[in-house]
């Protein structure tokens, strides 16, 4: 009996299509709003420098064997010096950076703007969908699915007898929310700001502490053993030359 559930065409015209259209329009609107609110923020010299120091120290660690040991020792001392080395972080300053990040009103403002442009439209649309379209079976996907997909596709409908391939309106909303990213990148250009998942990643990465990675690099440099690779190259060069001649 579940198989011959017939969906009214009015549901298609008044639920399925409006929902998708509204989702697209909201996505576009959000893109422009966030574009308006985005403030170009100048990178801080200290942070840039720390990033560059880490790159350089990583290079040094990775290819230390390619420079003479005298040069390596000089660099190691320069990076890991306890007084004013580049990788040395004075104690107590690490805490400071974190605190400064939160006390900086610009930073907090930026975060709030990002959050506003993300959370407010989402709650509003969700409430709107819930209010007008709750409980509809909006669509049917053309292939059968196992029971595990029920919570994904039939959110908001509590009948266990309906076949899983029917999609409820609320689930259709969720599918649209996450599935329209490809469409957005098509109509708004590659780097559109509506990428929610990416933004969430950024949020969790917030509070990243550069001094920690500086310390890690320093430890890495400390334990590295320098073994000049160049003497080996002489033999290898000889071998290549011999091969060339023969």
């Amino acid at each position: 009996m579940a198989a011959d559930l017939v969906l009214d065409t009015a549901i298609r015209d008044w639920v399925l299509i409006p929902l998708s259209v509204v989702m697209v329009l909201i996505g576009v609107l959000r893109y422009f709003v966030s574009k308006l609110m985005r403030s170009s923020q100048l990178p801080d010299a200290k942070i840039v420098k720390e990033g560059q120091v880490i790159i350089r120290a990583r290079n040094l660690r990775a290819s230390a064997n390619f420079i003479p040991s005298k040069s390596f020792r000089a660099r190691k001392a320069y990076f890991g010096n306890e007084e004013n080395g580049l990788l040395f972080v004075p104690k107590g300053q690490a805490q400071n950076a974190q605190a400064q990040m939160f006390s900086d009103p610009n930073m907090a403002m930026d975060m709030m703007k990002k959050n506003l442009s993300m959370i407010i439209p989402q709650t509003l649309t969700f409430a709107w969908v819930n209010f007008f379209f709750s409980g509809f079976v909006a669509a049917k996907i053309p292939f059968p699915l196992t029971q595990r997909f029920r919570s994904m596709l039939q959110n908001g409908i509590d009948y266990s007898t309906i076949d899983v391939s029917y999609v409820s309106s609320r689930s259709w909303y969720f599918l649209n929310m996450f599935g329209l990213r490809g469409l957005f990148s098509l109509i708004l250009g590659e780097e559109n700001a509506t990428d929610d998942t990416q933004r969430m990643m950024q949020m969790s990465g917030f509070g990243f502490d550069p001094s920690k990675s500086l310390g890690a690099e320093k430890d890495g440099l400390d334990i590295i053993q320098h073994e000049w690779a160049l003497p080996k190259f002489e033999q290898r060069a000889e071998a290549t030359l011999r091969k060339l001649i023969s």
């Binding site: 840039v48 420079i67 160049l230 060069a237």
Partner: protein, 264 residues
């Protein structure tokens, strides 16, 4: 770095465009993406697009990028009138833009009015002290005026913050070599080797510097680096082969008369 496939693609497109085969815009995009310096071609083909209003309008907002690209290419070719026109168009479109301000300062520099360009660059730096391009331009300007120590100072200041910038290390190394400050140049080349340990060009330059410095230890190191170049290029680098010969000869001269164990 430009990979092999990209290079062949660029050359193929360039050939095609030169023979009137179309694809000029793709060629310009690729040149911009790979940061190549083919100013004469960019100027020629970019202008042909810009002068054709139908072609220009198909670009949409990319039009302004093309104006910028052509302006820079024109300055490189000393076609200052063309550059001036391009910058004028951009200025009308984006009044007060810093990116256009940078172009104007570059135009002043291309004209050779150093003092004015310096003022323009400084005022731009006041707004954004982290602008890498402007720092580099100032160093380049100092070099163009023959003020090599000024250029060195600028580059060193730049490297204090952006110390992972390879091109700047390389430029600095070359300036040091031209001033015969080989120890400093050696340091710069070591830095380059560290970041790209399999690039034979840096090994070769480092070996040259070491050989020029002289002394037994340096000569032996130089020989090793020449050997590594030979290995990395598969024995096809004549300069490296000649370098090995010279090093061996010089080491032989220095160690004449000593006992054989030290020779090694």
């Amino acid at each position: 770095m430009v990979s092999k496939t990209e290079e062949t693609q660029v050359n193929r497109l360039e050939n095609q465009v030169d023979n009137g085969g179309g694809g000029a815009w793709e060629y310009l995009c690729l040149v911009r993406k790979l940061k190549l310096r083919r100013s004469d071609k960019v100027l020629k083909h970019g202008l042909s697009i810009l002068n054709d209003s139908t072609k220009r309008s198909t670009l949409g907002s990319e039009e302004w990028t093309l104006y910028e690209q052509v302006a820079i290419a024109a300055m490189d070719c000393q076609c200052l009138d063309v550059a001036k026109d391009c910058i004028k168009v951009l200025q009308k479109k984006f009044p007060g833009s810093k990116r256009v301000g940078r172009l104007e300062a570059m135009l002043l520099e291309a004209k050779g009015s150093w003092a004015e360009a310096e003022i323009a660059y400084s005022s731009l730096l006041e707004d954004n002290s982290m602008d890498q391009v402007i720092h580099k331009r100032r160093a380049a300007m100092a070099k163009a005026q023959g003020n090599l120590s000024g250029a060195i100072e600028g580059l060193n200041k730049y490297l204090e913050i952006f110390m992972a910038d390879l091109d700047v290390w390389r430029e600095l190394a070359e300036i040091y070599v031209s001033l015969q400050m080989y120890k400093q140049a050696a340091f710069c080349y070591e830095e380059l080797i560290l970041s790209q340990p399999t690039n034979p060009v840096y090994h070769l330059a480092y070996a040259d510097v070491l050989y020029t410095l002289g002394g037994l230890e340096n000569l032996q190191s130089a020989k090793k680096y020449y050997a590594s170049v030979t290995d990395l290029t598969g024995g096809k680098n004549t300069r490296a082969l000649f370098g090995i010969c010279l090093c061996t000869f010089a080491i032989g001269q220095l160690t004449k008369g000593r006992n054989k164990e030290e020779k090694d």
